[in-house]
Symmetry: C2
C-alpha cells in the first residue's frame, strides 16, 4: 500500500497529549490539582495541546449536582485557575457552563480550549444521550451553533462524546448531526472529549463508530475517554488516535489513568493498526476489579467484608476483591447453618487459603434457634420461605456488625440471574454496599471463575463442579425452583438486554410456560432490585439507573 500523506504539511509537527484521567465527581480541589499536573507533564513532553475527557472538571456523571448553582460556579472557578497554565500550551477541558439564553435548560455541556492565558474557543455538546444510564437532557440545552477553531495552524472540529455517535446506525437517535455542521468549516482533524462507560461490547463499538466518522468525513480523530469507575459506571479508557484510513495509530490502555502523546507527523508514515486485544471475559474481569478498587478508594475505605457460602458467586467475588484491594484487606465470614454441607465449609476454607484473605467462622444456629423460639408462637408450625429467609438475615447481622465495628464495606455477592428472578433474600444475602456480580449472569460467573483459574487453581474446582444451592433447607438445589442456568440465562438476556416479547422468545424455541413464568418473576421482583446496592455495570443493560421499571404494574404478569 502506498504511503499516504493525509494531512497538509502545516501541522505535521503538532504533538498532542491525551490525558485519560480518573477523578472523583465534585472533587474540585483534587481534580484541579490533577489537571494541572497533567498539563505540566504534557508540556514537559513537548505537547502543544493536551486533551481531557468530557466534563473533566466535574467528573462524569455529576447527576443532580448540576442543579446546584454553587456546583457549576465551582467548576467555572477551576477553569479560571487553568487559564494561566495555558500560556504556551492549548488545554482542552470539559465543564458545565450556564446557558445565557432565558429559554431552554440552564446549562450547556461544554468543551473549552484555553490558550495563551485565555479562552480561545468553546463548543457545546449537541447530542445529549438520554437513555440507559444517561440523563443529559435532564440538565443540558443542546448546541445551536457550531464552529471550528484554528489552533497552531490546525483547524480543529471539537466534539463531545455522543456528538459522533449518530452515525453508522440504521435508526439514528437524533434528527441532527453536529459533525456534518462542522464540516462546512473544513476542519483538519476531529477531536472528541468523551465519557463513555464500559460494557463488554463497548470497546469494539467505539472503534466501529469512530471509523464510521473517519470514513464519512475523511478526517483523523483523536478521542479521549476517562479511566476508572464512578460508583456503578466503569470507564475503560482506551483513548484513541485513528487516521484517515481507519487505522488505529494509538490506543491507550484499558482501565488505567494515563497521559500519552501522539505526534501528527506520524500520520504521514504508513498506517499500521495498533489495536489492543479485546477479550470479553478478560475485560469484564478487569472492569470489575476497577469498579471495586475505585468504589473503595474514592469513598476512602480500604477494607471489605463478605459472606463465603462455599458457593461460586461468593468465591468469585472474594477473588476479585482480593485482587482489587489486596487479600489482607478482605475479611470473609463463614456462617454455616444446620443445612450447610460439609463441603461448603471445606471449599470455603480452601478458597480462603488460596486467596490469603482473613476469615472467621460464625455459626448461625445459636441465633436462629432463639429467633424461632420468639417467633414460633405467632408463626405456628411449618417451614417455608419464612424460615429460609431468617438465615441470610442473621448472616447480614453478623456481616454488618463487622462492617460497623471495623469500617469494612459489605460486598454483595448476588449474580444477575438470581437478581433477575428475585432469587435472594431482601435484607439478607441481597444486602451490601456494592454489588460486584449483579450484572454478570450465572453462566458468565462460571466463565469468570475459569478465567481466574486459567493459570492455577485459585477457586477450588469443587466449587465449580457442584450443583448450585442456597442451602436454606435440607437438600435444596437452585434447580428446584429455577431451570438450569444455561436455559435461564439466554431467556433473561433476550428479555433484559434485547427487550424481546414473550412470543419472540418462545419463537426461538423456549418452552412457552417457562418463558411466561420467568418473565413474570422478573417483573414481580422489581421491588427487590429497587432496594439493591449499586451494581457494577459491565453489560449494555444492567440493573440500576440504566433500567427503570415501574414497581407497581401489571405488564406480563
Amino acid at each position: 500500500m502506498a504511503i499516504v500523506l493525509p494531512l497538509q504539511g502545516k501541522y505535521m509537527r503538532m504533538k498532542i497529549a491525551l490525558a485519560q484521567i480518573n477523578i472523583t465527581i465534585g472533587d474540585f480541589e483534587g481534580t484541579a490539582r490533577k489537571i494541572k499536573q497533567y498539563v505540566q507533564q504534557a508540556r514537559n513532553g513537548g505537547a502543544r495541546l493536551v486533551i481531557f475527557p468530557e466534563l473533566s472538571i466535574t467528573g462524569y456523571p455529576p447527576r443532580d449536582f448540576l442543579e446546584f448553582e454553587d456546583f457549576v460556579q465551582q467548576a467555572g472557578a477551576v477553569l479560571e485557575q487553568l487559564k494561566p497554565l495555558s500560556r504556551d500550551i492549548g488545554i482542552l477541558v470539559g465543564l458545565p457552563t450556564p446557558n445565557p439564553q432565558p429559554e431552554g435548560k440552564d446549562l450547556h455541556n461544554t468543551a473549552v480550549l484555553l490558550y495563551q492565558g485565555k479562552e480561545l474557543h468553546r463548543q457545546h455538546k449537541t447530542l445529549l444521550p438520554t437513555y440507559d444510564i444517561f440523563d443529559e437532557y435532564r440538565y443540558f440545552e443542546p448546541a445551536a451553533s457550531w464552529n471550528t477553531v484554528e489552533f497552531e495552524g490546525l483547524r480543529l472540529a471539537v466534539t463531545i462524546c455522543e456528538d459522533l455517535w449518530n452515525l453508522g446506525n440504521e435508526n439514528p437517535l437524533y434528527t441532527i448531526n453536529p459533525m456534518a455542521k462542522l464540516m462546512s468549516r473544513k476542519p483538519d482533524i476531529i477531536i472528541n472529549l468523551s465519557a463513555s462507560p464500559f460494557d463488554y461490547r463497548h470497546a469494539h463499538e467505539r472503534i466501529r463508530v469512530l471509523r464510521a466518522n473517519v470514513q464519512a468525513y475523511d478526517l483523523p480523530i483523536v478521542y479521549v475517554n476517562y479511566a476508572g469507575a464512578q460508583t456503578d459506571l466503569i470507564f475503560d479508557g482506551g483513548s484513541l488516535v485513528i487516521d484517515k484510513e481507519g487505522n488505529i495509530r494509538k490506543e491507550l490502555p484499558f482501565f488505567e489513568e494515563k497521559l500519552d502523546f501522539f505526534d501528527t507527523d506520524e500520520f504521514s508514515l504508513p498506517g499500521q493498526d495498533n489495536e489492543r486485544p479485546k477479550e470479553k471475559i478478560s475485560l469484564i474481569h478487569d472492569a470489575l476489579i476497577t469498579g471495586i478498587r475505585d468504589y473503595f478508594g474514592k469513598i476512602g475505605f480500604r477494607t471489605a467484608i463478605l459472606g463465603l457460602s462455599g458457593g461460586l458467586d461468593s468465591a468469585v467475588t472474594a477473588a476479585l476483591a482480593a485482587r482489587a484491594l489486596g487479600p489482607g484487606n478482605i475479611t470473609a465470614l463463614l456462617m454455616p447453618s444446620e443445612f450447610s454441607s460439609e463441603s461448603s465449609v471445606s471449599d470455603a476454607k480452601a478458597l480462603v487459603r488460596n486467596l490469603g484473605i482473613n476469615a472467621e467462622t460464625l455459626p448461625i444456629t445459636p441465633v436462629f434457634d432463639p429467633t424461632m423460639d420468639v417467633l414460633r408462637p405467632y408463626l405456628g408450625p411449618g417451614f417455608d420461605v419464612t424460615e429460609e429467609n431468617i438465615q441470610p438475615r442473621i448472616r447480614m447481622i453478623y456481616l454488618m456488625a463487622f462492617s460497623n465495628r471495623f469500617g469494612h464495606v459489605l460486598l454483595n455477592t448476588s449474580n444477575k440471574s438470581e437478581l433477575a428472578v428475585g432469587y435472594g433474600t431482601l435484607y439478607g444475602d441481597l444486602a451490601g454496599g456494592l454489588s460486584v456480580l449483579g450484572d454478570v449472569y450465572k453462566t458468565q460467573v462460571y466463565e469468570l471463575a475459569r478465567y481466574i483459574n486459567r493459570n492455577e487453581e485459585i477457586i477450588p474446582q469443587n466449587i465449580l463442579d457442584k450443583p448450585p444451592s442456597a442451602e436454606l433447607r435440607p437438600g435444596q438445589k437452585d434447580t428446584d425452583t429455577l431451570p438450569p442456568y444455561d436455559v435461564l440465562d439466554p431467556i433473561l438476556h433476550l428479555y433484559i438486554e434485547e427487550r424481546k416479547s414473550p412470543s419472540d422468545i418462545i419463537e426461538q424455541g423456549y418452552d412457552a410456560a417457562l418463558v411466561r413464568r420467568i418473565l413474570r418473576m422478573v417483573n414481580r421482583n422489581e421491588f427487590k432490585r429497587y432496594q439493591l446496592a449499586p451494581v457494577l455495570r459491565v453489560s449494555p443493560k444492567a440493573f440500576g439507573m440504566g433500567r427503570r421499571m415501574p414497581i407497581v404494574a401489571k405488564y406480563l404478569e
Copy 2:
C-alpha cells in the same frame, strides 16, 4: 360584572365528559375495560366528547416498558378496540405511538381523537418533561407539526400536559411553545390531557399555569388529570374547566376516580369561581392515604405490618395505614429492648387501642443476647453504633418473618429529616416495601399528627409531647446527634428542595459549622437512600427517582 359570551353560539350545546381515571400501568385488559365503561357512562350522560388523561392506555409513567415493542403494540391494539365505540361520541385518549421517521426517538407521546369509528386526529406532545421524576425525552421524539381539529363545530387545540407549562415562567424550560403554534389555526378551546403528579404546591401551581394560558390565548381550557397513585407518584385528580376569564367552572375532586360533565353552554352564564379549598396538610394527608391504598390495591396485597416504637413516626404511619387499608388489615409489632422506656410501650398500646389495629409484643433481648454472645469474641468489648444497629435489624427479622408468613407488606416509618441525614439503620428500621413518611420532614409529621387528632385524640398526646429518641442506648435523644428539628428541617429544605449552597444557607442566619456538618451528612448518606423503598412523593423534591445524586463523590464533603 356584565355577562360575557366568550364562545360562539355554534358549540354552546356541547357536553364534554372529563374522565379522571385511576389505572394500573401496563394492565391493558383492565384499562380497556375501564375506558369502555367510562365511554358508555359519558354517552349515557349525553356527552359528545369524553376526555381521558395523558397516556391513558398505558398508565403513567410506563418508564422502560416503553422500550418493549410488544408493550407499544399492545397499547395500539387497545386503541383499535376503542374505535367501534366512537361511532357517536368523540373519545380522546393518550398512548405511545411509533415515530415513523428513522431519525429521532422511536416513539411519540400522542393524543388520539376517535370519532365515527375511526381516528379523526392525532397530536404528539411537544414539551417533554425531563427533570425531577420525569424522563420523557428518554423515550419520545417531540412533535414537529401542530394542528387543531374540527369536532362537532368546535375547533379543538389538543395539548398534552407539559405543552401548556412553558408559560408564566421567567425561565422557560423549552425554546418552543406548541400552544403558540396551534393559535395560528384559531382554535375555540384548549384541551389538555395530563398526568401531573401531586406535590403540596401542585394544585395551586396548576391553576396558576392554566390561567396564564387562558390569559395568553383568550381561550377556555378543559384539563383532565389522573387520580390515584403509581408506586411513589400520587396523582391528585383535580381536573379543571376554566373559562376565558380565568374562573374555575369545574374542579373535580382530589385523589378520587370520577367521571364528570361540563356543558360548554355554561360558558355563556356569568362566571363563578368554584375552586375547591386546598389546605396543605390535609392534601398531604389524603395523598399519603391514596399512596398506601393504591400501592397495596394494585399489587394485590391487603394487609400491612409495621413496627410501633411508641414514637411519632410509626404512630402516624399506623394511623394513615389504618385509614387507607382498614384497621383490621394492619398488624403492629411492639418490640421493646432493654433501652425502651415504659412510656414507649404504653403509648404504643394506647395507639393500638385508639386505632383498633392488631398488635403483638415481641421482645428483642432473647435474640440480642445470643447474637452478642456469638459476636463478642470478634467485636471485643464496648457499645457503639454496632450494637445500636443490631437492635433494629433483629426487629426487621421479626417483621419480615410476619411479612413472609402472612403476606403482609412491611411499611417503612422513616421521616424525611432522618433519611436526609442518614439517621437510621440500613436493613433495620430503613427496611420496608413502601416508605410512607419519607417525603415528610419531622416538623411536618407533627403537623400531620395534629391534623389526624383534630377531632379526637387518636395519636396519644404523650407521643407528640415527649422528645424524639431512637432508644438504642440508655437515655438516647435525637438531639444528642442532631440539632432540634425546627432548626434541622429548614436547613434541609434549603438544600434539598431549594438547592442552595452552604453560603446561601449560612447567609440566612444558620450557624456555619452546623450547616456544613448537615450538608455533609446528607451527601454522605446517599448510599443508604439508594437502598430505600419507594417514597410516597408529596413535595416538589422527594428522595427516589426525582433526586439522582452520585453516591461516590466529594462535593461538599
